[in-house]
Structure formats: structure tokens, C-alpha cells
């Protein structure tokens, strides 16, 4: 505490150390601040991670010869407690003005060493890191000399920057006491319930008319075989009832502004054509609004396939996807509605239907956001050799789930689409489109297909006397708790396992039976099977609107399109956008137990800033050097956040920065023709200092 005060008094936020190019008037400095930079450098061995390729001794000797270096030391693990203490102690002992640690990536340990620098009595922003591990020793493992030369340059560049760094004070902002969860599958529902139970007002946004996601389409769930709807429906009802959850179905995120603590989100409520009872009440239609009676549905003349049933059951233009929908509200699919008005007539006094309804835009402010956008199936017809969409009796695993489910289109009777007969020989093809390096499918493992295919085999044995399931697999991945045991059980029940990749499937045009061509790699011989039905355990991919949505929130994605976590091991729910978190399959394939665990993690992480009430923003703001500013206003249009404006000051036009809006990208600073923009921590003289140190600098 005392330390921070001391720092504040000595060097307020906007004051800078004298560096070339910054006029005195911008940063009037007291005499004592003018003192020569004194930098302490610590070199980390990281065990042998760094020391294995870089000659630490040579690097240390070299560093001693650099300008402004007042202290150099090396240590096995600088991030350890004794390592950090070396930094803290050196600051006082050697009267340092800045610190440098040559170690791993600043993306990993910059916060650690900033804290150590602060504990030593310096402003934490007087720290600079030289990345000699991720971008050096690890990528030049067999070129010790090249790596050591590169490390010397990296340290020299870092010392140059540290010599020019200034005191900065992070900006604290208040956090709005509300959260948003986007996507209401089991992940989004769990995250919203946790946030709501933690006392946080939560907006739950779902693009479909009902919540529930993919899990509501499943019949049973491995490995316990509990009925999916039975465990999910109570949760759906809880979500619908929770006073702290504002459920917004048939709604999409349209625009996002702001930053952690203060996201201003514009939502597009798609026109559903139907008023809820609350909406009707608000419009003065007492006792009106949709009560889910369903009288409208039979009179509607338009017939469309029901997506929830994978198109295997019809629905009307006014519809609910299934009886358990939450909220229980009909929706009009305006793309197919012919506006005949029959539904309006039967709805009568309830006046729930408005055929002229338009999309509506609403704005909400939240402190943190959880993305739970889920997945969809890879379009497996692209793998033409398996004949999906060409052969009627080749179906996907999700179609199987609907066919075997008692509430599905066939009342739970698994039948062949071609003739409605019960199949006796069923082939399950695993890794259909997953673990596929042909460029057509997905290179990754979809993680739950092995397990649900085992489940599917069990389900047909249970339901169809005399049926024989065959599972074509590459490996069986049964890694979870009680999963391997489940695998043994399915083996014992009589399912036949054939280890081999199915090369192609042919259809007998007369019987519509399928000839499955594979190898049996265990017997080292070809294997052919005439099956009545083929189920493709289809790969999964990010849901259709994931890319647009993630860009609105500034979240990156992996090469395969799944949303990118801040760190795969240590921060799997966070993203590089502060205040935005990930839950469920949108981060990568997960079964339900892992999905729920990740949702609880994301909810907990998203609740922390809200409970803290305040967060600190990195103070990388732009500042205007008014003497140099010609008031041209070019920067004003460059700023994507509208943080800059021209103002009149002392008879001149100059630019002014609204710090709360500035995110510190520096796009204005990269263009200002007069060099009048000072990007804190990335100021022009600091970067030029680095460039000069690299290309001109060297040992004294």
C-alpha cells in the first residue's frame, strides 16, 4: 500500500521519462526523475528449457556490457518464489529504474514479473520481458550459437525499451452487475443457472425458439443410460422460472460495443409472430397472449420439415419443435408463412398472433459474457463414398437418436427409411468425417462418437430381438469415468467390432440393402457386410453462426473453427478478450459431463469480475501531445471505438482521448502525421528505441 502511494506521488500516470520526441510541456519532469536509467536483468534457465540451447553464461557476460544495465543475474526458475525475490531485492539494492526478465513469453509470465517489480517498489509497468524460450530456445534447439546470438539481441532490445518505460497507473472501471450467456444448450443453461444462483442478473440468448440444444434431441445418455429428456427437462424448466434469468429465445446478438465490465450488446429479437402472455399483458390485452394451447397448428395449411426431428417429421409454418419446449410459445416461420390468417382466427380473443410483427432491437449492458454456441453435424454427404443422401438407409447418428427415441417421429421404433421395416443387421461407422486428413473431413476426433455408438449398439439390442450390431472403428476411445466399463459391457452383449476404415458403401437397388466394404485389420483381410441400415457416427463442427458471433466479441478461433481459449491448460474457459468466457462444445468437442463442467467453470470465471465490482484495464491508452497536434482529425476516423474527438482548447483545435473508450490498439498512433499521439507503453520513442537497439546498438 505504502509503495503504491510512493509511486503515485513520484510519478503520476501521465508523466513520462524524458525521451526524444516528447516535448517538455507534455511531461514536465522534476529534476530527480531525470536520473539515468538503471536496469536490472534476470536471465532464466527454465531448467534446461532455455539453458539447453542458449549459453546462459555468455548471455550474462554480454548483458553486463550493455548501456544502462546496473545489475545482471541468472537463476534456474525466475518465476519461482526465490527467483522473484531476486528481482524484488535487486530493485532496492541497485536503485533500479526498470527490470528485464529474459525467460518465457510475456503472454505467460508478464503479470508475474510485473507483480514482483511492484513489490520491489517500482511501478509495475517499468518491467519488460525478453522472450528467449517460446520464440528462441524452443525453436532453435539445434542451433545453440544462433539461439545465443538471438537471445543477446532480444535482451538488448528489452533493455532499451525498459530504459524508456514510464510509470503507468491502470484504470479501474466499475463492472455492470449483469452477465450474458449466448446459446442455451446444456452448457449455456448450466452457466446461466450458476450465474443466476450466484445472485447475478443473467440474460440467456438463444437463436432458436426453444432452449435445450442438442441434448434435448438425444434419447439416452452414455454411460449411465439415463434418459436425456428426463434429466434435461427439469433444468429447462428451472431456467424458464429463475427470477434472475431473463430468457430471450429466437434472438441473436447483432452488435457489441465496450469492454470488460461494460459490454453494450444489441440484440435482434427475430419476429416470431406470436405474443407471450407477458407481452400481451403489457399491450393491454388482458388474459391474452400465447398459452401454448396449439389450436393454431392444425389449421395452418403450410407443411415444412421439422429440424428438431432432423426433417423426419413435418411441422406447420406456426409450430413448436417438440412438446417440452421452453418457453412454451408458438413461433411463425415467416419464410414459409402464406399469411392466410387462419391461425389468427382460431386464436380468437387471446390475440396472440401478429402476422405483421417485425424484428425488434434491444440493447442491454452486461459486465461479462459466456459464449456457449455448441455444434452441428459435419455435412457427411461430402464423404460421397458412404452414400449419405444417395442411399435411403444410410443415416446420421442424430437421425438415429430421433428414430430410437420414444418421442421421435416413429415413436421409438427404429425403422429403415426405405421401407419402414425393422433392421436386423446394423452397421455403425465410427470416425465418419472425423480423424480425416483427406481434406474433406475434419482432422480432429469428435470425442463423443465412440461412446454414443456403443450406446446405440446397446439400445438396438435392448429394443430389437435378434438384431446384430456391427461397429466399424479405428480405435475405441472410452476415456471417461465408467466409460471403459461401458465398453466391456457392450462387448459382452454381443456387438461385433471390426477394426477397419470403411472404404465405400454400395446399395443393392432391389432390396435397398447396403454392402459395406472394409478391411478387418486385426485379421488382415478384407471384410464385407450386407447391412439393412448404416449409421454414420458423424463428425461435429462449430454451429453455423459461430464465426459471425465470435467476431462480434473479438474472440479468436483455432484452425478448425472452434473458439480459442486463453490457454489450453491453465485458462480453458477464458479468451483473449477480457470478460468473455467459453462453455461447452463451442470450444471443442465435449460430452455432456465435460460440457457441464466447463459451463460451471465459465460461469464461475464470469462471476468473479462482477463480484469484485471493479476491474483494472491495462493503461495502454493513447494520449495527445497537444503542442504537436495540428487538429487535422485524421485519427478521429481511424479509431474503431470512437474514443477520439477534436476539441477547442486555448484557441486551438486539438484531439482529446476518452480513456474509458480507448482499448490501446495504437491505430491512431501509427498514422498521426505530426507524431502527436503518445501510445502509453508502446510510444514511438520506445519502439524506435527498440529498433535502434537491434540494428545500431551493441556492446559499449
Amino acid at each position: 500500500m505504502a509503495d503504491t502511494k510512493k509511486n503515485k506521488k513520484e510519478s503520476p500516470a501521465k508523466k513520462v521519462v524524458k525521451v526524444e520526441g516528447v516535448p517538455q510541456s507534455f511531461s514536465p519532469k522534476k529534476e530527480e526523475e531525470k536520473k539515468q536509467a538503471r536496469i536490472g536483468v534476470l536471465i532464466c534457465h527454465c531448467g534446461t528449457n532455455i539453458a539447453g540451447s542458449i549459453d546462459i553464461k555468455a548471455l550474462e557476460e554480454y548483458t553486463k556490457t550493455l548501456p544502462n544495465v546496473a545489475f545482471v543475474d541468472n537463476y534456474q526458475y525466475v518465476c519461482s518464489t526465490p527467483g522473484q525475490k531476486k528481482i524484488t531485492d535487486a530493485i532496492a539494492q541497485h536503485n533500479l529504474t526498470g527490470t528485464v526478465v529474459a525467460a518465457c513469453s510475456p503472454r505467460l509470465h508478464e503479470p508475474t514479473f510485473r507483480t514482483a517489480t511492484k513489490e520491489g517498489g517500482l511501478n509495475p509497468f517499468r518491467f519488460e520481458m525478453a522472450n528467449i524460450r517460446e520464440q528462441n530456445s524452443w525453436v532453435h534447439m539445434h542451433d545453440g550459437e544462433g539461439a545465443t546470438e538471438k537471445a543477446k539481441d532480444a535482451v538488448r532490445i528489452a533493455v532499451a525499451k525498459a530504459s524508456l518505460l514510464e510509470d503507468l497507473i491502470p484504470k479501474s472501471v466499475l463492472v455492470e452487475k449483469a452477465a450474458m450467456v449466448v446459446g442455451a444448450g446444456v452448457a449455456g443453461m448450466q452457466a446461466a443457472l450458476d450465474l443466476a444462483n450466484a445472485g447475478i442478473k443473467t440474460y440467456l440468448i438463444e437463436t432458436l425458439p426453444t432452449i435445450g440444444g442438442r441434448m434435448s434431441q438425444l434419447d439416452k445418455t452414455f454411460p449411465t443410460l439415463d434418459c436425456s429428456q428426463c434429466i434435461l427437462t427439469p433444468k429447462m424448466v428451472d431456467v424458464g422460472r429463475a427470477p434472475n434469468i431473463e430468457l430471450m429465445t429466437y434472438t441473436e446478438v447483432d452488435a457489441v460495443e465496450g469492454y470488460i465490465g461494460n459490454f453494450d450488446v444489441t440484440l435482434r429479437k427475430k419476429a416470431s409472430g406470436v405474443l407471450s402472455m407477458a407481452q400481451a399483458e403489457a399491450m393491454g390485452i388482458s388474459g391474452g397472449g400465447c398459452n401454448g394451447c396449439g389450436d393454431c397448428e392444425p389449421v395452418c395449411p403450410v407443411i415444412k420439415p421439422n429440424d428438431f426431428e432432423m426433417g423426419m417429421k413435418p411441422r406447420k409454418a406456426i409450430y413448436i419443435s417438440h412438446p417440452q419446449v421452453v418457453p412454451l410459445l408458438y413461433t411463425i416461420d415467416f419464410d414459409s408463412c402464406v399469411k392466410c390468417g387462419l391461425c389468427v382466427t382460431v386464436c380468437g380473443d387471446k390475440k396472440a398472433i401478429d402476422l405483421e410483427m417485425k424484428d425488434e432491437f434491444v440493447k442491454v449492458k452486461v459486465g461479462t459474457v459466456v459464449l456457449a454456441l455448441g455444434f452441428e453435424l459435419f455435412p457427411i454427404e461430402k464423404k460421397e463414398e458412404w452414400g449419405y443422401k444417395r442411399f435411403e438407409n444410410v443415416i446420421t447418428s442424430l437421425e438415429f437418436e430421433r428414430l430410437i427415441c420414444a418421442s421421435g417421429p416413429t415413436g421409438g421404433h427404429l425403422v429403415r427409411p426405405s421401407d419402414g421395416k425393422t433392421p436386423k443387421k446394423v452397421a455403425f461407422i465410427l470416425c465418419a468425417g472425423s480423424r480425416d486428413n483427406t481434406g474433406i473431413g475434419k482432422p480432429y476426433c469428435s470425442r463423443f462418437c465412440c461412446m454414443y455408438s456403443l450406446k446405440h449398439a446397446h439400445q438396438i439390442i435392448e429394443k430389437i430381438p435378434g438384431v446384430q450390431p456391427y461397429i466399424f472403428y479405428m480405435d475405441i476411445r472410452s476415456f471417461g469415468k465408467m466409460y471403459e466399463e461401458f465398453y466391456y459391457r457392450i462387448q459382452d452383449e454381443g456387438t461385433k467390432f471390426i477394426r477397419g476404415r470403411v472404404s465405400h458403401i454400395l446399395e443393392d437397388p432391389a432390396t435397398k440393402n447396403l454392402m459395406v466394404h472394409s478391411d478387418d485389420t486385426l485379421l488382415d483381410q478384407p471384410f464385407r457386410l450386407e447391412a439393412d441400415l448404416v449409421v454414420l457416427a458423424t463428425a461435429v463442427q462449430p454451429s453455423v453462426d459461430t464465426d459471425r458471433t465470435r467476431k462480434l466479441f473479438g474472440v479468436s478461433c483455432s484452425m478448425d473453427g472452434w473458439l480459442l481459449e486463453a490457454h489450453p491448460k491453465l485458462n480453458p474457459c477464458g479468451t483473449t478478450t477480457a470478460g468473455v468466457f467459453l462453455a461447452g462444445v463451442c470450444q471443442g468437442p465435449k460430452d455432456i459431463p465435460d460440457t457441464v463442467a466447463s459451463a460451471e467453470g465459465a460461469a464461475s470465471a464470469a462471476s468473479i469480475p462482477i463480484h469484485m465490482g471493479e476491474v483494472e484495464l491495462e493503461p495502454y491508452f493513447a494520449q495527445c501531445i497537444e503542442e504537436k497536434c495540428a487538429g487535422c482529425g485524421m485519427c478521429v476516423n481511424l479509431c474503431p471505438y470512437k474514443a477520439l474527438a477534436l476539441i477547442e482548447k486555448e484557441g486551438r483545435t486539438v484531439m482529446e482521448v476518452t480513456e474509458a473508450k480507448c482499448k490501446g490498439c495504437g491505430t491512431c498512433g501509427g498514422f498521426c502525421p505530426g507524431g502527436a499521439i503518445w501510445m502509453q507503453h508502446f510510444a514511438t520513442p520506445q519502439i524506435i528505441g527498440q529498433i535502434d537497439a537491434f540494428l545500431l546498438g551493441g556492446a559499449q
Binding site: 480459442l564 524506435i688 545500431l696
Partner: protein, 140 residues
């Protein structure tokens, strides 16, 4: 002599995508030539043409600017603005008679560690083909 020459290449890359991608190449131990020195900025929008010109006048043999893919910039469109400026600098280089290939802008995401290694390899190769920057000779 030609064998001995080690090019001086400056990489100025954004924190969110290319720097993270370069870190990923490290975690995956993807090997590439060590002839590049990195300066980290928050976004390629920060890259002032001045930085590049300063690097070349200081004797750099090559400069690599690398950021997020279009549409992926952490600050929405900093990379568009940065890229526009790079065209400007390239035409300037042409005017003063310096091979514009000495300046390269690439887009490497946080998940493209292997691509980062490839980019550095390419840049090092190009600079090797071009040889030492004539500016270095002139300023001697």
C-alpha cells in the same frame, strides 16, 4: 563472405495473433531459422511507416509485419489500416530503389504455429536471395 553473412531481419508483430502464433510454434517445438528479432506491438495498426523506414535506414535487410487475419483483428480493423500503410511503404521503397520484397506483411493467427515457422523460413530465404541491404553499404 556470402556464407558468413547473417541477415538482420526485424519482425514487428501483433500481440494477439502473430505473437501468440509464434509462441505456439515454440510450444510445439517447430524449428525455424533464428535470423529474426521480434518487436511486439498490440496491433499491426500501431505500425507507423516511420518504424519500417527507420529499420531500413538503420540497416535492416528485411522487415516482417505480421498480424491477425482480416476480420480477426483484436481491435476489429487495425490490420486493414496497417496493411494499407504497408502498401504505401512498399511503393516508397520502390521509389527509393530498395527492393520492396524486403518488406513483407503476413497474417498468422494464434493457432497457426506451423504457419509462423513457414513465414519466417520464407522471409529469411527471400532476404538471403536479395543479399545485404544496399543502404547498409551506402551509410558506411
Amino acid at each position: 563472405m556470402a556464407e558468413e553473412w547473417k541477415p538482420k531481419i526485424m519482425g514487428i508483430i501483433c500481440n494477439w495473433c502473430s505473437y501468440a502464433g509464434a509462441d505456439l510454434a515454440g510450444s510445439a517445438r517447430t524449428q525455424y531459422p533464428p535470423d529474426i528479432r521480434i518487436i511486439r506491438v498490440m496491433c499491426t495498426g500501431r505500425v507507423d511507416p516511420l518504424f519500417i523506414l527507420k529499420a531500413f535506414t538503420d540497416g535492416a535487410d528485411g522487415v516482417l509485419v505480421s498480424g491477425c487475419h482480416f476480420g480477426d483483428c483484436h481491435y476489429l480493423e487495425g490490420n486493414f489500416k496497417g496493411a494499407k500503410r504497408m502498401f504505401l511503404v512498399k511503393s516508397l521503397l520502390k521509389n527509393i530503389g530498395l527492393e520492396h520484397k524486403r518488406l513483407r506483411m503476413t497474417f498468422v493467427s494464434a493457432s497457426e504455429g506451423a504457419k509462423w515457422a513457414k513465414v519466417v523460413e520464407d522471409v529469411v530465404k527471400t532476404v538471403h536471395e536479395l543479399g545485404p541491404s544496399p543502404i547498409k553499404e551506402l551509410s558506411k
